[in-house]
């Protein structure tokens, strides 16, 4: 097992907060896997992301007990910018991710590469490639702050992907987007998955998680309450009592089984549901 990120007994408290936002958490994140982080509001999902990226405590200050290791080295020991090349971070709000100093989207996507001193010829090549991948190349000469939310979020992804980080932490990228925007963002995330990036995605749209993630992390009250394979976790109906949302297909499947329809397994995606129901119907017809 190739561990890229490890939390060892981590407890973290924001400044002025009465109690820790993360309580005694230990996990190992494996390279090349896609982790979906779920849990109710205030469960500590965003704080977990900030810890992994080192923003907590480097920016938020506060009190950190235990260790957060990225490739074996504590996040607190990385120099400025060093982690930026290892871990890409995409935020919730599309608008706040605009640099504020670029007139065109092309330059906006190139901004990080300029800061890291990448030669200009290489910048141009990489920016064009990433803009095509994220489907914003046709907007290259538009003003960044005049784009729609979905376009801005794709641009935010592009300007991080262009730095070629191995790990991506993506915090609720679609919460402010319409269905169309959500779809386009997940298309990009799927491509990142195919490139074998390590992805940590916080997402309320659990149907999307069911579709794309490998492993699921379930958080509650600052603690990790479940970690494991998505098939196993997203079909665990006891999680509903913990305030965790489960995929509609899983709930449908569970109801069907309760109603006496013998499904081979509880589905979590539409494709699985179609398969399972199809098989059950076939069996019923045959008998």
């Amino acid at each position: 097992m190739d561990t890229v990120i490890e939390l060892k007994n981590v407890t973290y408290t924001y400044p002025l907060a009465d109690e820790p936002s993360i309580k005694d958490m230990s996990i190992k994140i494996e390279r090349g896997k896609f982790y979906g982080v779920i849990g109710e509001n205030g469960a500590g999902k965003t704080t977990l992301c900030a810890l992994i990226r080192g923003f907590a405590p480097s920016f938020y200050n506060g009190e950190l007990k235990g260790e957060v290791l990225v490739e074996g080295k504590p996040t607190t020991e990385f120099g400025p910018g060093e982690l930026s090349l290892k871990i890409g971070y995409v935020f919730q709000n599309p608008f706040t991710q605009i640099s504020g100093v670029k007139d065109t989207l092309f330059e906006e996507v190139a901004y990080g590469l300029e800061n890291f001193g990448v030669p200009v010829d290489e910048i141009e090549e990489r920016v064009i490639e990433v803009m095509k991948m994220t489907d914003i190349y046709s907007l290259a000469d538009k003003k960044p702050f005049e784009l729609s939310g979905g376009q801005q979020q794709r641009a935010a992804l592009a300007s991080i992907i262009v730095l070629k980080p191995d790990i991506l932490v993506i915090d609720e990228p679609t919460s402010q987007l319409d269905p169309e925007g959500t779809e386009s963002v997940f298309k990009i995330i799927e491509q990142l998955k195919n490139e074998k990036k390590t992805i940590i995605l916080v997402e309320h749209k659990v149907d999307m998680i069911a579709e794309y993630a490998d492993e699921i992390l379930v958080m509650k009250g600052g603690r990790l309450i479940r970690l494991g394979d998505k098939q196993e976790i997203l079909t665990d109906m006891s999680l509903l009592d913990e305030g965790v949302q489960l995929p509609q297909m899983a709930i449908l499947g569970e109801r069907l089984i309760e109603a006496g329809i013998p499904l081979s397994r509880v589905p979590i995606t539409e494709r699985q549901a179609a398969e399972a129901i199809g098989q059950a119907l076939q069996k019923a017809r045959n008998s």
Partner: protein, 265 residues
């Protein structure tokens, strides 16, 4: 080539001069204007040379091929200058009456002050208008960085210009929303002041929420990295900068020499 599209090419060589060269011209010109304004000419002791000196500003604007843009921007300066000249010449008593129209009298001292102040303002503000009308903000920030200015300074400068545009748009949206909600924008001063609050407070709040996230975004994009940054946009030199600098310095030295000679003799 995308990078090629981002560059600024100017057909007029004066306008295309490197910003640092143009800025030297602006500084020396302003200095000379003030120096010339201190020359008292003739019996009335008016600062007539500063009027003559002003010819250079429109000449530069025409030479740079931007006379229309220049004029549009310069009218604001002109308004101030005209107010100064009128007020000074009519309101300051002292000296003989130079001209009289009904009860309005222009006296010597008033006219002296009017010319001195009015043309100093026109000279200095005018040459700056020329500078800003021939130079884009992007070029200014680029030139600043080239001359060793910290990237944080240029970031603040450019980001400010963009933020003004963004908040300007947002304020229109908020004003419209407030009007739709029935916040009155007409009426007595209390009503209008209330409308001012109702528009501005949400505007500022909207602008500052997410500032933390913006800090972290910049950090994610390597804002703080200690390395030489590369830049897609580059300013070009025309090759005539040295010549222009030399001429500007030579003229300044000549005027200073003249002034010193007048003092000594």
């Amino acid at each position: 080539m995308w990078r090629e599209k981002l560059q600024i090419h100017k057909s007029n060589w004066i306008a295309a001069l490197h910003p640092s060269c143009k800025f030297l011209v602006v500084c020396l010109y302003s200095f000379c204007a003030l120096l010339l304004a201190s020359f008292k000419v003739g019996e009335g002791e008016y600062s007539l040379y500063t009027i003559a000196w002003f010819v250079i500003v429109p000449a530069l604007a025409i030479g740079s091929g931007i006379i229309k843009r220049f004029w549009n921007a310069f009218t604001k300066v002109l308004l101030v200058a005209v107010v100064i000249i009128v007020v000074q010449s009519l309101l300051i008593p002292g000296g003989d009456t130079v001209a009289q129209l009904w009860i309005l009298k222009v006296r010597e001292e008033g006219l002296r002050s009017a010319i001195y102040l009015g043309f100093s303002v026109m000279n200095i503000a005018g040459i700056f208008v020329w500078f800003f009308q021939t130079t884009e903000n992007k070029e200014i920030s680029c030139a600043l960085e080239d001359s060793g200015t910290n990237y944080k300074v240029t970031y603040v400068f450019i980001s400010t210009l963009q933020m003004i545009e963004i908040l300007g748009q947002n304020s229109k949206t908020i004003m419209n929303a407030q009007q739709a909600r029935g916040v009155e924008t007409q009426g007595n001063i209390v009503v209008r002041t209330r409308a001012f609050f109702a528009s501005l407070v949400p505007l500022i709040l909207g602008a500052i929420t997410g500032t933390e996230e913006r800090v972290l975004t910049l950090e994610s994009k390597g804002f703080d990295v200690n390395c030489k940054k590369s830049r897609l946009f580059q300013i070009e030199k025309t090759g005539r900068e040295k010549m222009v600098n030399t001429i500007a310095i030579a003229i300044t030295v000549a005027i200073v020499g003249w002034r010193v000679a007048l003092w000594i003799l």
